[in-house]
Structure formats: C-alpha cells, structure tokens
Symmetry: C5
Subunit: 354 residues, 5 copies
C-alpha cells in the first residue's frame, strides 16, 4: 500500500519550490556520469561537483548527464543553477510520488516517468522515478538508484552504431524513453505468466491462498495502470510536434513509443479483465465445492436417517409388539432397509448427484 | 449522510441573492484579519467593522483579508458593498453546500472549494467551505471557522521569504490554494493507512464489523470524490491563462496545483478500486468460512450416522436375531465401525476436506 | 413503472402536430392567469378565453401567462394561434412524457422540464411536466395541475421587490426555472433521509422488506436521474449566451441555475452509489446470518451425534458385551461424553465460532 | 441468437457490390407500389416491371415507390439502374443484417433502419430492415415483407390532409421515419408491461422460470439497443442541416424525431437498469429462501438431537444404572426434555428465527 | 494466454529498427508472388530474390507483391531497400504482436491488422498478422504463413471482372482489407453458435465444465476485441480522405469497410453482454441446485428426527414406564408417527418445497 500513497505530509506548510526528498530513503550516494559526443568526438567521465557541468550547457556537442541517487538535495540545487532549471521542476524531481507528466519550460522539457521492475522475492512490482530534462543540446536523466537499463544505449553511443551519434538530444531522449517503455513489456510478461498459472490453479485446486494471489495481482495491476496510464498523454504531447525542442525527424520514432504505450495500456486492461474472469471462476468453484459437500451430507443423511428410525422402532420395549416375536422379522427388516437404500440411490442417480 | 445533502429547503421561495446561511450552525464569532504588504512594507491588523476595508480596495499594495466565521450575514453584506461583490457570490459564500467552482466576474474571480480534515474520533472526514475572492490587488478568504492551515503563509509573508512579497494577488491566491490542496494528501494518507489495516483484517479475521468499516470507508471515499473532483475543472480554468487577473508568471505554479489535483483524484480512484477488491475478499472469506463449517458438519455426520444405524440394529428386540448370540459379534461390530470410520477419513482426505 | 413509459400508442398513425393529450387524465379544468407588469404598472387577472391574450403579444410590458391544466386541447390551440406557436411545440406540451429539452424557434424559446414532488403516501416521487414559452416580452408557463411553487414569485412581482420588475421576460423565466430546480433539493433531502434510515436498518435487522425498500429507492433514483439529467443540457444552452432572447445580464443568474443542476445530478449519483453500497451490505448481512444458523446446527450436531452413537452401542443386545456387566461402566460413559463435549467446545472456541 | 449474427459467410470471397440476399428467406413475392402526387394531382398504381419507374425519375411531382419483398435481386438491379443507385447501396439493401446508418451519395441519401414488431407467441422482438432512398423528388422505401405501418401516411397523402401534399420528398421521408420511430414506443410499452409483471413475481414467487424470463428480457433489450442506438447518429446527421436534399423547413420536424430517438434510447437504458435491479432481487430472494430452509432444519435438529441422546442413554443396557430403578425417573426425563425444548424455542425467538 | 502477451523481451536493449522476429516460429519458407496488371496487361510470377522487385517500383502498372512467411529477416531487409521502407516499418512487420494501426510515411501507407481463423481442435481463435504497404502503384502484403483468403481477389484480377483492373493500388488495398474484415463475420458466426449452445446447456445441465467453457469464450471475446477494436480507427483514417494515396472514388468503398468494422465491434460487445448474462444464469442455477439439495435434506431430517426421538423414548429401560405395558401403545405410537409425518408434508407443500 505504501507504494500507492507516499508521505507528502512532511512538506505541508513549506513554500513551493522547497527541495525536500519524498519517498523511501535508499541511502544511495549521488553519482554523476557525463557522456559528451557528436558525430566525431566521444567523451565519457564521472564528475564529483555538479557545477562542473556548466561547460556543457552551451557546448554544441550533445551531452548526456546521468544522475544516480537524488537524495542529496544540494547536488540538485547546483545542477538546477547550472542549467537554470525552475525550482518547481527540482521539487518534482525530489518528490518521487509524481504521476508521469511532461512540462514544457521553453528552454527545456521536463519529463517524469516510472521505471518498473519486478521484485521476485516480494512478488510485487517496484517502481523508481526517472526524470528527464531535455535541453537544446543536453539531456539530464535522474534516477533514484543506479540501474543497468541505460547501458545498451551507452554502448551504442560509444560504438557509434545507428543514428544516435548523428542525431540530436531529442533522439537521445527518445532512446532513453524507449528503453523504459520496452522494459514494461518484460513486467507484463511476468504478470501474464502468473495469471496463466492462476487460471489452472483456480479450476483444479482453489484455496484461500489463491484468492490472496488474485487480490495481490489485482493490486499490482492497479499500480501498473496508475504508473503507465498518464504516460500516454506524455508521449502524445512529445509526438504531436508542437514542442520546438523536438525535431520533426524524431517524431516518427516517438510515434513508435506512443504505439508501444497504447499497447502496454491495452494489455494491462486485458490482464485486468482476465483477472476479473478468474475471480468469477474462483467464486464459482468455491460454490461448487460447497454444493458437493452438501450432496455428500444429504446422501448419507437421507439414506440412514429413515432406516435408523426403523431400527429405533424395534428397539422399543412395548410389551405388545407382535413383529418382535415373528420368525422372519429380522430378515424382512433387512430387506426393507435395502429397498429404502436402493431407492434413494436410484433417486440420487436420476438427480445426477453423483 | 447529513454531510452529503445539506438542508437547503429553508431557502425555497426566497428571491435569488438572499443572504441566508446554509449548513451546520457553529456559533462562531466573525473575525476579520488584514495583512497588507508590498515588497517593502508589511502591516497586520484585526478589524471590527468590515467597512474599514474600503481603504484597501484601490490601494496599490497587496491586501489579504481573512474572514473566519461567516454566519453573521451583515458582515458579508458590508464586505460585499465595499468590494462591489455580486449578490449571487455572497449567496454562494453563505451556502456551505457548494460544489467547488470558479466564477469570473470581470472585476474579481470567485473560487469556492472544500478544506478537509480528518476527525479521528468520529472516524470520518469533515469538510469546511473556503471561499476566495481574488481582485486586482486584494484577496479575500472566507472560512467557516478559524483554522491554522494558512499560518505558514502568514509567516512567510511576514518574513518576506520566497517570491511572495514581490508577486501579486494572484500568487497569494495560489499559495492559499496550494495549502488547501496539499492538505488533501494528509487525508489520503490517513485513509490509505486505514485501508492497509483492513486488508490484513479481512483475510485473518473478517467480522460483520469489518464489513461496516469497509462500508464507512466507501462512503468517505464518495464524500472525498465529491469534494475534490470538481476542483480539477476549477484549477484548470485558472491555469489555462484565459483569466486577465492571473499573470502569466503565476501560470506555471497553478499548473503545479493542477498536477496535484489530478494526483489526488487518481489516488481516490485507486483507493476506491482497492476497497472494492477488499469487499470481494471479505465476501469470499465469509463464503470460505461457511464452507469450512459445512465440512465439519458433513464429516461428523457422515462418519457417525451409518455407525449409529448399525448400533441401532443390534439394539432391536427381535426374538430371532442370530448375531446377538454369537460370541465374537461385539468385536466384529467394532471392527466394522472402525473400517467405516477409516474409509470415510481416507475419502475426505482425498477430497482435501482437511 | 407506468411512470417510466407512458402510453403513446394512441398517437400511432396520427400526422405530426396532432394535438392529443398523453399522460394520466387528471380531469382538471384549465385556468389561465395573467400577470402583466413593468417597472411602474402591475395588473393581475384571470381570463376565460385564451384569445383574450392577443393584446399582450406585442404590448411592451412583461406578461406572464400561467396555464394550469392542459387537457383541454382547444385552449392550447387558441393560445398557439395567438402567439404563433409551432404545432410541434403544442404537441410536445400535450405529451407529458417529454424529456426535458430546449428548442429555439427564433420568435420564442420552448423549454420543457419536470416539476417533482414527493408523495408521502405512495412513498414515491411523482412528476408533472412544466412547459415554458419565452417570447420577447411574454412568458407562458403551462402546468398539468395547479401548484403553489410559483406563488412566491407572484408575490415578489406584486411587491416589486428585487430586480424582477426592472428586468425582462428572460429574468422572469429564470425565476420560474430557479423555483423548479430549487424544489429538487427538497426531494433529494427526503430521499437522503430515507437512505440514512436504511443504512441503520440494513445492519441491525435486514429483512426481505428492507430489500424491497432498497429496490424501490433504486427505482426512484432512476426516475429522478431520468428527469433531471437532460436538464443540464437545457440550462447549459440557456446560459451559453447564444440565444438572442436571453440578455447578457441574465446570464450570470442562469449560470447559478446551471451550478444547481450539476449539484443535483452529482447528489443523485452519490445517492445511487450509496444505495449500491447498502445493497452490498444487505446481501452480506443475509449471508452472515446463514452462516450463524449453520454454526448453531453444526455445533449441536457435532457434539451430540458422536455421544448418541456411544449411547447406541451400549443399547445393543449382544449376549457377550463385557462392559455391560462392569460396575463403573456407566460412570466411565458419562466421563467419556463430557470429555468429547468439552473437547468440541474448545475446538469451536478456537475456531471463533462463538 | 440467430437474430444477432446473420450468416454472411455465403458472401465471403465475392466482389464488393455483389447482389446476394442475406437473412431469413421469407419467400415473399416482390410488390412495387407507386404513389405520385403534388399539391393538385394524385396517382396510385402497382407496377410489375421496375423499369417502368424510369418516367418518375425526373418528373417534378413527388413519387413514392414502395417495394415489399426484396429477395428478388433482379428487381433491385433494375431499380438501381433506373435511379442510378450505387452497387454498394444495393448490396446493403439486400444484406438485412445492417446497422442503422445514413449514407450521402450526393444524388440521393440512403437510410437503413430497423422496423420492430413484438411477436406475442415467441415472446420476442422481431425486426425487419427498412431501406429508404431519398432523391430530389422521389422516395424509394424497401421492406422485407408487406407491412401496414405506412398505411396512415398513404391515406393522408390521398386525402391531402396536413402539410404533406405541399411539401417535398424530404418531408415524405420524415413521415416514413416518424412512423417507424413512433412504433418503437409500442414495443417499449410491451416490454415495460412484462417487466412490471416480473417485479411482482420476483418478490412473491421466484422460480427458475422467472430467471429465464429475466434472461430473455435482457437479451431482448440487448437486441433493442443494438437496433435503436445507431439511429441516433442517423437522425442527427439528417437534422444537422448539412445535407442538401433536406430543406430547412423540414429540419424542425427531424429534430422532433431526434428527440423521440433519444427518448427511446433513454427508456431502453432505464428498462435495462430495472432488469438488473430485478435480477438482484431474484438472487436475493433465492438466498432468503435457502436461509429459511436452513432455519427449519436447524430448529428441528437442535431441539431433537440432544433429547434423542438422553433417550439413548436410558436405552443402554449397563447392569449398574441406578436411575433406571428410581420411581420418578421417567417423569424427570420428560421434564428435562421439555426444559430443553422450551429453552431452545426461546433462544430461536430471540434470534428472530421465527 | 501466450496469445495475449508475446515475448518481446529478446528485443530489450536493441536499437530501434533492429529486425528481430517476435512471435511463434513457424519455420515457413518465404514465398514471394508478384501480380502485375493494368487495364490491358496481366502478369503473375513467383520470384526468389526480393531485389527483383525493384523494376516494379516505378512501373506505371499496378503491382501486388504478396509475401508469405516473414521469418527470414534478410528478405525483408532487401524488400525494404527496394521500396525505401522505413526501418521502423520493417521492425513492426516482424513484430507479430502489433496492435492494428495505420501509419502514413508520405511515400507509402503502412497498415497492420490481424487475420483471424477459428481453430476447431483447440476451440480457440488464432490470429495471424497481415501487413499492407500501399505505395503509389504497388501494394505489398505480408502474411505470417500462406493463406487462401486472397485467392478470390487473385482470380478476379486475372479474369478482369469488376472495377479492379481499372482502379488503382488503393482499390486493391481495399479489396485485401475487405477480404480480411469479411472473414471476421465467419468467426463471429462460429462464436455465436457456441454461445447459443451454451444458453441451453446452462439452464438444463450446468456443470463445472460449462463454467470453463464460459470462461474460455470470455477470453476468446477479449482476444477478438483486442484484435478488432483498434481497426476502427485504422479504417476511419483511411476513409476520411486525408491521405493523398487514397483516391476519392475509393472512399465510398472504404466507408463500407468502416461500417463492417463497426458492425463487428458491435457484435463483439453484444456477444460479451450475452456471455455475462449466461454467467449470471449459471451462477443462479448452481445456487438453485444447492437449494434443492438442502430441501431434500431438510424434509428427510425434519420428518424422521422427531419420530426417531419418540422411538428412542420407548427403547429406554426405566423400570417404571407405564406406557410400555399398555396393550394399544404400539398402535398409538404408529398413529402419532403418521400424524407427525403427514403434518410435516402438508407444511412443506404449503411452503412449496415440492
């Protein structure tokens, strides 16, 4: 649950633009990596003080500044000063409980979205907030902790493969976004495998445990939906071609991400529908089992209660009970019992009770 | 329930613009505080007669008039005359059952919204109506009773921290709105903690009490939704930049409130979905318990009814029952009983009844 | 149900514009009252022949013609001729099964809406159709039967209080609409009180009767929704300022009605949601009661069936049953019975069955 | 079900515009009736060969060609050639599984919609497809079989009553559409009577049969919705005044049909909601009955099982059972039994079980 | 399930435009067939190397290149080079998990959609992705495996029947799309037959198997919906007439496909609604059966438990039980038993239990 509503209350009463980190403290040291490249040159370095970035601000080469760990608010403040980032943007970066959104601040575009990963131990989806700041010739990416999702992009820039070295900062942002969105499919595969497993279980052996799993998966899907749904609008804004920082040639690539996002949303809805279906089956299975229990009880009771009554009769101690003295009484008793039993069984067979 | 539909009936038949207070009488004395400031000067005072405000109407400094307690209709009337406020606006201020809305009356903007607080004793969300009147260089805020939510803003103006002393009345309204919206997150945290608690309870020990709690929380969420949903449109109108009283530089801050509002609405929907999920589990848990009760009954009955019948047979008093005289009959009886019992238990084990 | 679908079949095959009354016949004599006023003069009279109205058509004073009882089609025909009203409008006035709507016929605006009242005996909402024809300097209001809802307006015009004597026919229509919409709140209060009562009943003592009440209230809400929902569009059309017969100064008042309409619709939806919630609780309470019945049965059966079996054993008549002769057998029997009983009770306590 | 998805498969692989009849073969001979009129002249005749129509194509009088029975594709082909109707239109006329739609082919407007009738025997709604082709001065109406719904219009043209003889082909189409839409209200009345009947039945005596009736009515409503819903858009297109073949003076009449269509759709939704409500009550009634059955079982079992145990005790044959010899034992036994019984009954009364 | 989310994970980390086949490997050899025609000439041939296509690129005749089997990425690469197809298009062709979509790349239009077929053995709908590339005078169609759905079109071109030889590449695309959409109706017929079968089964003999069938059909409908829904937008884009490659004369045909698509979507929704209805009946039937089982149990228990108690009484061994010695006791016992039995049966009859 904590994943849904993060504690913002410590910010109550502070003026807007106050830099306070909201979210789970991860005690991660901030690490700033810079990749600076154009078609010919390539440079990769790690810096300590964010102020060193200032030289890259107006350099014509493309600069990608990657920040892992954002709990150190001073680093962010310095970075904000270097690239004249609006205080509200900095506040949003620190508040890791953001809805994905895109904001156009004329000199840069601020994009915030969720990077998801599936925690196999906890069996739940965990998310990290990724902020992208796209300027004319630089991209700043900020993650909560160090991840390996951007490594292939780093390699590609290094090797100069593909369009990347020839294209601008908008294409680089596209690559980063694409890596994140592509990753969503991996999560969906995980979840869909789980649901597939549930489908079998719910028919063959539904337990209270199954119900909890269904409930947990539903909560996961809710979380997934909440993280991905607003992305649609974000990518749509990027793709529509109304932002001056996005070149027209990049638009076709962004359209591709848009399609992927729609695909992810679609799949989430489908999986949610399937989960509802599975819940229906579960409830119905439980009800069927109850039915079966009732049938067993009824069959046993219906056969034995009447014959027990007959046995009870001849256990009575009335002085004048003629049948007691007859020679074949006991045999007749057994015959009657058998007739009652067989009749009942035929009756149940006809009712298809077993 | 009373919170949902307030008694408007006492107004039926009155002409429009009639000043009648609708809502729970709180017997609160009206208190008017004035804060008047610009970049250099700062003045804070409390006044008795609302007519004293007239001097602030056209003064170039920014004036914030805060009114706590609105049941005294005369005060409102005088205030309305001072600032030429439309009678319908005054009527709306007094009617504390308003939907959040924004109305543009050219010389001022009227905003009405709900300030929420969580009443720990009653375990319910209570709300107060806050009205804001934003003029060219004044802001009038009207609350039902004295609250402490605006205190940090008062402090900030006094200390001259942040943008506030340099910015206009629109920025001041932004700060007031921001304080109210930020407060919603506190309510959401409370509710989400409650729901988290429910999730455990519903699996481990679901009672009728749990059901009532679920129902109450659902009603709270309904109330929350009703109070917050229309706010979206209000903030959107403010932020779109079509109002002449809102400067462009404030727009970016209002966009931030808009994001927060969307976030709150989103979270409400998520919490509602979770509550539905919890209700499903509750119902299913109840059904599972019933199932278990049935199984116990069936196991006991199925084992003992047949053997009781056998015991009944040999309690019969027929004169001719050969088994009664045999020496090992009693032992055989016990063996038969045990066989029946064991068979049944194996059968139930196979059916996974225990 | 009759309230939902009125018999239109008697009109099948008739040409459009045929004047046939559709709805419950109420045998009400048509009564025409005229109020003619401007800022200075005021005149109130009742007329017999609708043709007498003709003098008011082009008179510069504001004329309000109120018609109670519309079953007399001839009256309508004459009125229609006087004010050159389109045959389709007349047809719509007579057909009391209209959805609320607004139609602009250039020389007049035709508005039809529902006046609701709560019938305490039948415990249901009953509705009457009210038609308004708004011309340049006249307003014709037509009701199915005589009502007292417009009396305060009549008084206000007479006394010359408020804006009404200075304003035009559009302001008069606003007053009529406002009276009708304000009345909806009274209905909502009634319904919400009923629902509040239900909430308690459903938890404490749910019966089949409760279910019927829930169902009836749901049907009432459906009816309410059907009557009010289309009003939103009607008032929106009025308020948007595209109609030449509506002056700009009246717009702000119509916006107020629009807010009220939205508020009513909102409240209806909220009440519907609450009813759904109450139905859920009802179903769950019923299920809980069943559960309790089952538990009592199971506890009794589980304790007594085994001990009855034991008693049965020692009622057998085998010649060779050594226990029968032992001296302490009977005491041992009682001890065994007590042990079984106590064990069972502990077991049930642990399972929290009682 | 066959009503929902008609066999289109025989058309698979054929080129577009292939004239193949899709739907239930009704073996109806095609009958072509022509009514040709203007303000002064009137002529009614039946023709054999569709080619005879050619003279009416450019005649200034209004011509209404009514075709009953469309299975003869040759007739359609000839007609299509006469009036230069697009092959796709002809294909659509023959395919009786169309959604209602309107297509503007510049020289004519093609409208297809459903004529509904209630089959009292089968207790289901049956539908027939009606196609209208509206040209400059002719209207072609095509029905699957001969119907009497257009007779009043025929009469009205003959007698020259109303606007019809003075108005153009667009007004004639309006009359035809109006006749069809008005007929929907008859169907709705039938269905609403059925639902009213159900409401009583479901409370007083719910059986499996009731459930089937609910299900069938739900399916009927689904069918109704499917047939009427798209009509809204059709009439809206007609009424908007963007079609050159529709004169402005007819627009006001089409607006009337639009209102009726909305009314029908609204009523369908309301009836569907009521059916859902009835299903809820049904399910709850069934559950209540089960509850009552359980109570009877539990009361009987709870009273008699303990006392049977006591009787069992004193049926035991232990040699040493002091109570057996006491003189008042039997009386005490009866007193104990009565105490147990009365206690139980008081307990059940308190629980409100009966 | 695998049909819903295909493994995209092997693409994670690859640059955009990487040609990797996603989907089930079918080991199908790529086969390229070319049909080249205009009004006079016609040529059909199969080629090996895709590079041979280059001559058709700018030839004024219409060329239809059909590719069966797309797993060979080299073929696609070559084809892409010949017709200057964007790498992202090629990537999309290979990724068989696409949502239907249309993309306009100025020199060509790329359409991707699903070809559905019903697998009778697996009782599920299987789908194949079909990509269409529509250039100025060529159409490239790419299928996952060889199908016979386009054969009638091939024949029609060969025979020169219909408009096809006179029309352009856009008309050819229309024919291909039409063939695919028409095929959907066949699937719907299959599914609707299944549902019809279910409707009977669910009332007469509902089993756990029925539930599984309902669930499977629901999943199929979900899959169908997912495949068809986005097609609406695709065809709408084509038909709107904003694409320069689509001639106006083809628009009317595309509108026809649009209608079909809407019809398919409508039918899917209707079938889904029916399935929900069937599920409701199933659940209710199960509940009714349980009810019946309970009644049998209760009738048997309620009749026999009291009389067994009476029999138990007279099996007691108290020394002083006067009734035991009376002569008519046994007869009286039987009379009492019969009275109890008959009373119970009358009681149950009144309650309508049987």
């Amino acid at each position: 649950m904590i994943r849904f509503i993060k504690k913002r209350s410590k910010k109550t009463g502070l003026p807007p633009g106050s830099l306070v980190h909201i979210g789970k403290k991860k005690e991660i040291k901030t690490k700033i990596t810079i990749i600076d490249y154009d078609e010919i040159t390539f440079q990769e370095l790690e810096i300590e003080a964010p102020k060193e970035c200032i030289i890259y601000k107006d350099k014509p080469t493309i600069t990608w500044i990657n920040v892992d760990g954002i709990e150190n608010t001073q680093v962010l403040k310095d970075l904000g000063e270097c690239f004249s980032i609006h205080p509200l943007t900095l506040e949003d970066i620190l508040n890791t409980d953001q809805r994905p959104k895109l904001e156009d601040y004329e000199n840069y575009i601020y994009i915030v979205l969720k990077m998801l990963s599936y925690d196999e131990k906890e069996e739940e989806i965990s998310s990290e907030q990724v902020s992208l700041i796209l300027g004319k010739n630089y991209v700043i990416s900020l993650q909560e902790s160090e991840g390996d999702i951007f490594n292939p992009i780093r390699e590609r820039i290094k090797n100069g493969k593909g369009r990347v070295r020839k294209a601008g900062s908008d294409y680089l942002s596209y690559l980063l976004l694409d890596a994140i969105v592509d990753n969503y499919f991996t999560i969906l595969e995980k979840v869909s495998e789980k649901i597939e497993g549930l489908e079998d279980e719910v028919i063959k052996n539904p337990t209270q445990e199954t119900l909890n799993t269904i409930h947990n998966l539903k909560t996961e899907m809710l979380y997934l939906k909440k993280s991905v749904w607003p992305l649609r609008e974000v990518v749509n804004k990027l793709e529509r071609g109304e932002l001056t920082l996005i070149k027209k040639s990049t638009s076709v690539y962004l359209r591709d991400i848009y399609d992927h996002t729609i695909h992810v949303i679609d799949s989430i809805e489908t999986l949610r529908d399937m989960l509802s279906g599975i819940l229906d089956i579960y409830l119905s299975s439980v009800s069927n089992r109850m039915n079966e229990v009732m049938k067993v009880l009824t069959i046993i009771a219906t056969i034995f209660i009447p014959v027990t009554f007959i046995a009870g009769i001849y256990g009575m101690n009335f002085s004048n009970m003629p049948e007691l003295g007859w020679h074949w009484s006991y045999l007749v008793f057994w015959i009657v019992v058998l007739i009652i039993g067989v009749t009942m069984i035929i009756y149940f067979k006809r009712k298809k009770w077993f």
